[in-house]
């Protein structure tokens, strides 16, 4: 099996599985109880939290709230901060757990602002953010790394631009595609209002994630109950999952430099292999949707997105699946859901180009041989399918 859809999710690291299993056996007590059994578990929870702080250089000025994952973290921060009438903005290319959360404010008469006009290659162009000041935007929500394109919104750059051009606007970043794939700068926390992380994108368990939130911010809880986690997120803590998350973060950060180097090598190899495939295959018109820049402040090397009209991405995907090669898709080709990816059309692709695309995303297990096998199978599927999709061959 060749798995090249690591932006969707990643296989769990065996060491993380062991840590979770062990904790499931040992740490069954409720970390909120006052007897020693519970206090021991609470201690392990605090150790995990400290380990996360150390791994990511999260300063004491910021709190860590454990959640069920990236979507909950995004919902908790945005709703908790902006409800009901604080003005919100996003680029319009974020994950649905951000864009749909912003959309939910419309019902309250608080229409969110889209900065899509300010995007270049899927990133926010920070040269002119005066609109944020004019519209009195209180919170700007962005992906740190775009989930379909890999384009990077560099927090340091954006925070500086906001400080200069719209000081009342705070920055929230969805970081689920960034941790372990980019080096997070310890300096980015200063000024950052919130940041979300998910366990399963970094070889950790599903069902757990976290929100980093600046301590001064008065966040309204979205889940009420036993007032755990600074009263911000009630519910008994899933200690084994959190221990797994902490280990996954630690391992991904330790390996980050190697991962980045490996992903750059893989991305470079993929792009060049695809280009030479296209050279030998005149009917293949390749178009790279993700930036080919090797500047890590602009593009994550973990994601390569490309189009190849007129053959639909989903059909290629299923042909690859027959060979046990699994890749990602931003959009569906079904006769029932003709909606192409909003991210791809958002950066200017036509609906057809958006439908005829694939997303390759690398993980720690990905190899050059995986890329070779993918490109070969892709070429074969493309050759086989081209005539069916090329409408010019259709009889009148």
């Amino acid at each position: 099996m060749i798995y090249l859809d690591n932006a969707a999710t990643t296989p769990m690291d065996p060491e993380v599985i062991d840590a979770v299993q062990e904790s499931m056996r040992i740490d069954f007590a409720n970390s909120g109880t006052v007897y020693s059994l519970g206090l021991d578990v609470k201690q392990r929870l605090e150790d995990a939290e400290n380990q996360i702080r150390e791994s990511l250089f999260i300063p004491p000025s910021h709190k860590i709230i454990f959640t069920s994952g990236g979507s909950e973290s995004n919902n908790l921060f945005i709703k908790g901060y902006a409800f009901p009438d604080r003005k919100l903005a996003c680029l319009g290319l974020e994950h649905p757990s951000v864009t749909q959360t912003l959309e939910a404010f419309r019902e309250l008469g608080n229409d969110p602002i889209s900065l899509l006009d300010l995007q270049t290659e899927g990133r926010l162009d920070v040269s002119n953010l005066s609109q944020l000041k004019k519209e009195k935007v209180r919170l700007l929500c962005l992906s740190h790394v775009n989930n379909e394109l890999g384009s990077v919104n560099d927090p340091t750059l954006i925070l500086q631009a906001l400080a200069e051009q719209s000081p009342q606007t705070r920055l929230f970043l969805d970081g689920v595609q960034a941790v372990g794939k980019l080096k997070l700068s310890p300096a980015m926390w200063q000024g950052l209002a919130g940041y979300s992380i998910s366990g399963h994108k970094i070889n950790g368990p599903k069902g757990v994630g976290l929100l980093v939130v600046e301590g001064k911010i008065d966040l309204k809880p979205q889940i009420h109950g036993g007032q755990q986690q600074h009263r911000l997120r009630s519910g008994t803590l899933p200690v084994p999952l959190i221990i797994g998350l902490a280990l996954a973060i630690k391992k991904s950060v330790v390996k980050a430099a190697d991962t980045i180097k490996n992903n750059q090598k893989l991305a470079r190899h993929l792009v060049s292999k695809l280009k030479s495939l296209a050279e030998g295959l005149p009917e293949l018109e390749l178009q790279f949707n993700s930036s080919l820049s090797e500047d890590l402040s602009r593009q994550s090397p973990s994601i390569v997105n490309f189009s190849f009209a007129p053959v639909e991405g989903e059909v290629i995907l299923h042909h690859l699946e027959e060979k046990e090669i699994f890749v990602g898709l931003g959009s569906a080709c079904s006769a029932h859901s003709k909606e192409p990816s909003k991210i791809l059309t958002g950066i200017g692709l036509t609906p057809e180009e958006a439908r005829c695309s694939l997303r390759i995303s690398f993980g720690t297990q990905s190899t050059l041989a995986n890329v070779d096998a993918f490109v070969e199978a892709f070429g074969e599927a493309y050759r086989q399918l081209y005539s069916t999709f090329n409408r010019k061959t259709t009889h009148k």
Binding site: E312, L317, H318, E321, A332, C333, A335, S337, T394
Partner: protein, 397 residues
């Protein structure tokens, strides 16, 4: 208390049959026994065309639940067997009614008797009166009254030659005929809302409805296949012993798309589906085809296009939804419990195969001309050679 219960099963249209009535009843009994084979301690009795199931009080609820999903049953009641003596029958009434009477409030009841055993020395109204007056005598002081028209509680008595049963409930059944009494048919099933309902309707007419699915892999993922298997399993729950035939359809679709007039595509696909379905039906001993088509619902379901599709087969094609509107079909899909599965978002056809403007009135001569442009006989044989058979009884959970 775990007293034995007697379930009285009333069959539906079997009652209208003539000399072969026993065959129908035996079929229904076999179907009931098959659906209940995992329940312990059941005893079946079929005296003189009536169906009784003796079971424990505990399992009676599950028995009723299952009986309500077996075609051919009009209704079923859980009761107790007693000697056909007025005092014994009245005692049951007192036992059941007394706890329901609230102090200071009137409670109305009546007794209704069906005297199946005509040799019994009292007529039905006499039995009603005798049993009713005994109950009233014991409970009148607590507020019990008789009312035929506005009864809060109806005590029913069925007096048979072998057994007399007292009950106070009737769970409605699916009605129709027992599966197997009308032969096997092969239904074209997709992941949509309509085709499962069509097969369900055929089942209720006594057919064992097998399914044939035309698989779009690898243009589409396995999601569509999984959904059809799930729907077929649901349908099999009503009938048992049915099969799903899965035929790969991609090569045929690609050929039609590449070589034939785009406007004709859908009708041409369906002509191939019908041809293959007929061949499979004949191979597997199915007597007819069934589809979920309804006039005018989509472009391929105009009368002209339905004719053009039927033209390629000689077997009868049953279309039990032909005159129904979408909402009626949806209501029935909800009754069948297929609706929620059918609306799961798994695409059943890639948009590349859909024509921009499908013909609503395809002419058979034109379709035949299109079919000279690709080797359909060969592709049909190849597809049938790759057919997979899913035995739905073998699927667990």
């Amino acid at each position: 208390m775990n007293e034995r219960r007697t379930i009285l099963v009333r069959y539906d249209e079997i009652g209208l049959k003539g000399k072969n009535r026993d065959q129908f009843i035996n079929r229904l009994v076999k179907n009931i026994q098959m659906q209940m084979k995992d329940l312990e301690g059941l005893k079946f009795k079929v005296p003189h065309g009536r169906i009784f199931i003796h079971c424990s009080q505990e399992s009676s609820e599950e028995c009723i639940r299952r009986l309500q999903r077996i075609p051919g049953i009009a209704s079923a009641s859980v009761g107790v067997t007693r000697k056909p003596e007025f005092d014994a029958l009245a005692a049951v009434g007192v036992e059941w009614i007394e706890p329901l009477i609230k102090p200071g409030e009137a409670f109305k009841f009546c007794v209704r008797t069906n005297r199946a055993d005509k040799s019994y020395p009292y007529k039905s109204p006499e039995i009603d009166r005798e049993v009713g007056s005994r109950i009233l005598g014991q409970l009148h002081s607590k507020g019990l009254e008789v009312s035929i028209k506005e009864a809060d509680f109806i005590l029913e008595i069925e007096i048979g030659q072998d057994e007399t049963v007292v009950f106070n409930n009737r769970a409605p059944g699916l009605r129709g005929l027992p599966v197997g009494s009308s032969g096997d048919i092969l239904g074209l099933i997709s992941g949509g809302i309509d085709s499962p309902v069509a097969l369900y309707r055929m089942m209720k007419r006594g057919c064992r409805a097998h399914g044939i699915f035309f698989d779009n892999r690898p243009f589409m993922g396995r999601g569509g296949y999984d959904k059809v298997v799930k729907l077929s399993k649901l349908l099999n729950g009503y009938q048992g012993k049915s099969k799903l035939y899965v035929v790969p359809f991609e090569d045929i679709q690609v050929a039609i798309r590449d070589f034939c007039r785009p406007a004709h595509r859908v009708v041409l696909y369906r002509r191939m589906m019908y041809r293959i379905a007929q061949a499979v039906a004949q191979q597997k001993g199915c007597l007819a085809l069934a589809t979920g088509e309804s006039v005018g619902q989509v472009a391929s379901q105009t009368i002209e296009n339905l004719n053009a599709v039927s033209d390629v087969v000689t077997l009868s094609v049953f279309r039990p939804l032909i005159g129904m509107n979408k909402q009626e079909i949806i209501n029935e899909a909800r009754e069948l419990d297929s609706f929620d599965i059918s609306i799961e978002p798994h695409p059943d056809c890639c948009s590349v195969f859909m024509p921009p403007r499908p013909a609503t009135r395809a002419k058979i001569a034109d379709l035949e001309e299109d079919e000279t442009k690709y080797p359909w006989e060969l592709l049909m044989l190849e597809a049938m050679g790759k057919m997979e058979t899913v035995d739905l009884d073998d699927l667990t959970t």
